[in-house]
């Protein structure tokens, strides 16, 4: 039986479609880290000081706010090692940028049901993304904060965490990270909306199940990107490149505090085989050679005129640390057959 299981597992693994090796990406990440370690140590110290300051503010905020919630929750939150969680979560460069620029909004609103409290601690909202930080705590001794069985874990989507903007569901690509902290859990939801959300809106967070517990945890958080918009740079290069039979137009690049939104169009004959998802615009490198990490992408519009089809695509990346002089779009590994780099100056 052992041999049969081995054979079946090997065959099962063989079903995984392995794409080409993203060597350029790996090399860039490796070399970037090497450079950072040698020449930018001073910046690293400044950045770490900034984190420490931000963390101190968050700790104070949590401790102060916990006093207003309930004595049980205050005791619980006091025991949470917030520093560790914050450092884990700010592993994302976009969030680091936003924290550096003081663009996160402290919320600290709590909903309690069935002895479980959900607190929205921070919100970050800009052109490309909406991030929500939260904690889950309980006064009940029969519920465990551990991963397994996950009594305090909230999944995304109904009946777990659902998000509405002014009472309308947000169409998005979302992902969520959470971890145990003390006798509670802390988490971060990253939402990449598909389409435009209003500059300011009421974000509703509706939860009907936490772990196996059903209940109602409904929170309303006013959200605004007023300050993030002020810190967003918008470029409209309208630069056209032709790849085979396809015309690629880089229409707009928005570099917001925590995200970079790149909009481009592809025009090609209807019979063409060049589809946007084959165009690895995922590989965007700034003027210092740092790759931007792709977070989401979607088709904004699609139209046919005569025998030509035009698709407008929007891609969302983590924002670069500073506004670069130019971006390089690496439009395909050689094996796809469309090797061409597009350099776009941001002036």
């Amino acid at each position: 039986m052992d041999e049969r299981i081995r054979q079946e597992i090997q065959q099962e693994a063989n079903r995984c479609p392995v794409q080409s090796i993203p060597w350029n990406n790996i090399r860039n990440r490796v070399l970037n880290n090497t450079i950072t370690n040698t020449s930018l140590q001073r910046n690293a110290i400044i950045r770490k000081s900034g984190y420490a300051f931000a963390v101190a503010i968050v700790i104070c905020g949590l401790l102060v706010s916990s006093g207003f919630i309930s004595p049980v929750m205050a005791t619980t939150l006091e025991r949470i090692p917030v520093i560790k969680a914050i450092f884990n979560f700010v592993g994302d460069r976009g969030i680091q940028n936003a924290i550096d620029e003081g663009l996160t909004t402290k919320v600290n609103r709590t909903a309690t049901d069935k002895g479980i409290s959900v607190t929205i601690t921070d919100v970050l909202y800009d052109q490309g993304r909406l991030d929500i930080g939260y904690t889950v705590t309980t006064s009940r001794a029969d519920l465990s904060p551990d991963d397994y069985p996950g009594d305090l874990v909230i999944s995304l989507g109904s009946p777990g965490m659902q998000f509405l903007a002014n009472n309308k569901p947000i169409h998005d690509t979302a992902q969520e990270t959470n971890q145990k902290m003390g006798n509670g859990r802390v988490g971060l939801v990253e939402i990449y909306p598909r389409g435009d959300l209003p500059n300011t809106f009421n974000l509703q967070i509706v939860i009907h199940q936490i772990g196996n517990q059903q209940g109602d945890w409904i929170l309303m958080v006013p959200v605004s990107r007023q300050y993030a918009d002020a810190a967003t740079k918008v470029f409209s290069p309208m630069q056209t490149e032709v790849i085979g039979q396809t015309a690629v137009v880089i229409r707009q690049i928005q570099i917001a505090p925590s995200s970079a939104v790149i909009e481009f169009s592809l025009t090609q004959p209807i019979t063409g085989h060049f589809i946007w998802s084959n165009l690895p615009m995922y590989h965007v490198v700034d003027d210092k050679g740092h790759g931007l990490q792709n977070r989401s992408d979607y088709i904004v519009s699609s139209q046919i005129e005569g025998n030509m089809k035009t698709e407008v695509v929007r891609m969302i990346y983590q924002s670069p640390k500073t506004i670069p002089n130019y971006l390089v779009f690496i439009t395909g590994p050689d094996d796809i057959g469309y090797p061409k780099n597009i350099k776009v100056f941001l002036k």
Binding site: R4, Q7, E8, E12, A13, V30, N178
Partner: protein, 196 residues
């Protein structure tokens, strides 16, 4: 000194074992490892190219999402290079690499995207034989029904070909805990195969 990296195997449809690339990739010499550890980017590239497919498949078996698996494998290779100075005993390179890989998969699992992507949708191949497809579905169901811990044990044993002791070190569990989880996974999968 030679270190065996025998976990990364492919099977072609006929069930015959086939190497990922050439036969040399099975044996990683201490010279090769020490060049990686000294930061030789060319040797490192060679290593990445040889082990990429196996690393992605290992992560995919644990995570069940191609994008997440590729991201985890990428993180693992980057972490390996970044922490190359921490490897004290070159003989343990293989275990060390798997440990980094499994940790990267776990990390990715924690932030795993909950949305379904096109690559997760399986379209059955009309050329597949019914019996093969049936077995595959049984295996998939069995693995979906398992916890991440049991799947990890199963993958380390049957896909990575690690010994019990090596697998327990890679997973960061006591030997007894590993054996217990592997036995549980094995029981579940064997029962499904027998019921088929």
């Amino acid at each position: 000194m030679t270190i065996r990296m025998n976990g990364f195997l492919h099977l072609i449809s006929g069930g015959v074992k086939e190497r990922v690339s050439n036969t040399n990739d099975q044996d990683i010499t201490s010279g090769f490892v020490s060049r990686i550890c000294s930061g030789d980017i060319i040797t490192y590239e060679e290593f990445v190219r040889e082990q990429w497919a196996g690393a992605v498949r290992t992560c995919w078996l644990i995570l069940r999402n191609v994008c997440d698996a590729e991201e985890a494998a990428q993180d693992a290779f980057v972490n390996l290079y970044k922490s190359r100075g921490q490897l004290k005993d070159l003989n343990k390179f293989r275990i060390w690499f798997y440990k980094i890989l499994v940790n990267a998969a776990r990390q990715q699992g924690r932030r795993q995207t909950k949305t379904l992507s096109a690559s997760d949708i399986e379209v059955l191949d009309p050329d597949d034989k019914i019996d093969q497809t049936d077995t595959r579905i049984v295996i998939q169901d069995a693995m979906h029904g398992m916890g991440k811990l049991e799947i990890t044990a199963l993958v380390l044993c049957y896909f990575c070909d690690l010994t019990d002791r090596e697998a327990s070190i890679v997973a960061g569990w006591r030997l007894g805990t590993y054996k217990c989880r592997l036995a549980k996974a094995r029981r579940q999968i064997a029962k499904r195969l027998q019921d088929k």
